[in-house]
């Protein structure tokens, strides 16, 4: 039994934590300015800071993957421990915070768009897993409209085996949703976060319904192999063992029968969003931090990387103001950090 007071206390601490976490960018900026501002000539403007912050965040983000690989090699050499000494796990957790799972937009035939700002809302850094739903339960066009529903009076969804959790794709608009309730002719649809999904707003839109329980992972195959693979008796891609190739912003799925929206889902690592330190007005010549601005964006890295962020931004900023001692200080500190963490 949890007492009311303790719930309040934990919520309070959560708010404090989130608030602190959300303001990491301000803390970083203050520290950078504090280090640079010796003799009052080390000021960097918010726009310069935002550029350096983006660069620094990207450096650290990319380094996670090298560090992750380094830790795996250490594990294989039995130079790594378990429990709190499991450094690899820490990197996994950080990388997983950038993990996103989305259905891919269908282009034409067996071609799908890779995740991007226009389709899934993110640019991807790495396609980790491409899943294929192979069991088509129903397809057709909607002949009635209702908020957050798919309606087709010519189909019996229950008889077709549609169940809660199955995937619905709008083949006209490329949108997807999940089934939350089934009647013979009406499917109630929700998004992944449980909110109502109103993806059928016009009559006569095409739809497909896939069984969410029958899913296989597609394997990435290089262009130098895919033709031979398709011609192979034993290993030609099948719905049980599908494959894909990538060309520019398009994924081509094999077998070519994988050709509708809702059939292909991708788990990928997105890029961190560009940090933006926002302000409202100048107080005594200083811009005042304001995180309520619509374009505000904090760092997306964990708190433990704040010192590294500061050191990296210091290097860029030091170069910017031609203060070589700041650059050297930051480089030395970063190297020491790296050595300590090996």
């Amino acid at each position: 039994m949890v007492e009311e007071g303790s719930e309040k206390d934990s919520s309070f601490f959560l708010i404090i934590f989130v608030s602190k976490n959300l303001q990491m960018i301000n803390s970083v900026r203050n520290t950078v300015l504090s280090v640079l501002n010796k003799n009052n000539y080390g000021y960097i403007s918010p726009s310069d800071f935002n550029l350096f912050a983006k660069q620094a965040q990207m450096d650290i983000f990319e380094d996670y993957f090298y560090q992750y690989n380094y830790q795996i090699n250490k594990e294989n050499a039995r130079q790594s421990g378990t429990g709190f000494a499991d450094i690899k796990k820490q990197y996994e957790e950080v990388i997983d915070t950038f993990s996103v799972t989305n259905f891919l937009y269908h282009s034409n035939s067996n071609r799908f768009f890779v995740p991007n700002q226009l389709t899934t809302g993110d640019d991807y850094f790495l396609l980790n897993k491409v899943l294929v739903y192979t069991r088509l339960l129903a397809s057709g066009t909607n002949d009635a409209l209702g908020l957050g529903t798919l309606q087709d009076t010519t189909t019996d969804f229950q008889a077709a085996g549609v169940q809660v959790g199955d995937i619905v794709g709008n083949t006209t608009t490329n949108q997807t949703a999940f089934v939350s309730n089934v009647t013979p002719t009406i499917l109630t649809l929700i998004n992944i976060d449980g909110t109502s999904a109103d993806i059928f707003t016009v009559l006569g839109e095409g739809y497909v319904v896939y069984d969410d329980a029958i899913v296989t992972e597609a394997e990435k195959v290089t262009h130098s192999k895919i033709t031979m693979l398709n011609n192979s008796m034993l290993t030609a891609p099948s719905t049980m063992f599908p494959a894909y190739t990538q060309e520019s912003t398009i994924l081509s799925m094999f077998p070519v029968s994988i050709n509708t929206v809702g059939a292909v889902q991708c788990q990928y690592i997105r890029y961190p969003r560009d940090p933006k330190w926002t302000y409202v007005n100048l107080l005594g010549g200083e811009p005042s931090f304001d995180q309520s601005q619509p374009d505000y964006q904090d760092f997306e890295l964990p708190l433990e990387d704040e010192p590294t962020l500061i050191l990296k931004i210091l290097q860029y900023a030091g170069m910017s103001i031609r203060e070589i001692s700041a650059v050297q200080f930051a480089q030395a500190a970063e190297q020491k950090n790296d050595m300590d963490e090996k």
């Binding site: 594990e75 394997e219 195959v221 192979s232 008796m233 034993l234 063992f241």
Partner: protein
């Protein structure tokens, strides 16, 4: 893949065919094999790492093919009627034959493979024995070669003691209570047991994909027992492995990948090879199902008196 409920097993959840899942518990699917291997034997801390799944799939299928040729003892059987062409077209998934029988009068009679050929290709020739070509310089062939024609029309003699034997229907003389026959010149010393079989004979033309029978098979039922490669016509969802061989298949995949990989130490390859061999032997012994109850029935006849 989840385990089946008893209703799913016996009645296929009410779907047709109802017997789809009968006996399925003996087997593990190809999908499970590949999935389990990728999970348990491949990865950052395993001997096999950074291998494409299609390679695992290839080696898994090769293991299943090899097992189907002998170790599985999974014989497929097909009954077909032999028409007057005396030909039995091999099944679409045929790899090798085990036994070919004539089913007649309710009895299965195993047939003997003819030690001589009973079919041949032929070219048309002129009176000077020159081979004939058409205007496009393609060689001309008759519909049947001489030996085929004789076999199909029933005029070909056989070295076997069946209805094609030269002695079959030969007239003799009954004199003094004994039968006498006119044999060809030359002495005969007993019976050639290799050819002493009354049933029709056959030869397999592998490239043509047919079994050619002697004339006695015309209009008869033939039962072919054969082995396939277990690939089920390319339908991956139907490819299965007996559970007794599951561990062997993993060991086979691991060995073949390590064996073909650059820079793997020889002792690791040897370890994988020995493990693979040991698991195959174990699985074969298990599958042979030797136990006292089974031996007992065979041994019961050993002390029977011959009268």
């Amino acid at each position: 893949m989840a385990y089946l409920t008893t209703y799913q097993y016996y009645e296929n959840d009410g779907n047709l065919p109802l017997d789809a899942n009968w006996g399925s518990y003996q087997y593990v699917s190809l999908q499970d094999i590949v999935n389990n291997f990728m999970l348990m034997y491949a990865g950052n801390h395993s001997l096999v790492n950074n291998e494409e799944r299609y390679k695992i799939l290839f080696h898994a299928k090769r293991a299943i093919q090899e097992l189907n040729y002998d170790a599985f003892k999974e014989i497929k059987i097909l009954e077909l009627s032999v028409c007057d062409t005396l030909r039995y077209v091999l099944p679409h998934d045929y790899v090798n034959w085990v036994r070919i029988s004539l089913y007649k009068d309710g009895i299965l009679r195993p047939l003997t493979e003819n030690i001589q050929t009973n079919w041949s290709k032929a070219y048309l020739q002129d009176n000077d024995c020159r081979i004939l070509f058409d205007e496009d310089k393609n060689i001309l062939e008759p519909e049947y070669s001489g030996i085929d024609y004789d076999r199909i029309t029933g005029s070909k003699k056989s070295i076997y003691l069946n209805q094609g034997s030269p002695f079959n229907g030969m007239e003799g003389y009954y004199y003094g209570g004994l039968w006498y026959f006119d044999y060809e010149i030359g002495a005969r010393f007993g019976l050639n047991t290799e050819t002493a079989n009354f049933n029709p004979t056959f030869r397999i033309d592998k490239k043509a994909g047919v079994i050619n029978f002697s004339s006695g098979m015309s209009g008869e039922l033939c039962i072919l027992e054969y082995v396939s490669d277990g690939m089920e016509g390319g339908d991956n969802s139907l490819i299965t492995v007996n559970k007794l061989f599951e561990d062997y298949v993993y060991a086979y995949i691991e060995y073949t990948i390590l064996n073909s990989k650059l820079g793997v130490q020889e002792y690791i390859i040897n370890r994988a090879r020995k493990r693979k061999g040991a698991l195959l032997r174990n699985a074969k012994i298990r599958l042979s199902n030797i136990h006292p109850g089974r031996l007992l029935m065979n041994m019961r006849g050993k002390d029977k008196w011959l009268k």
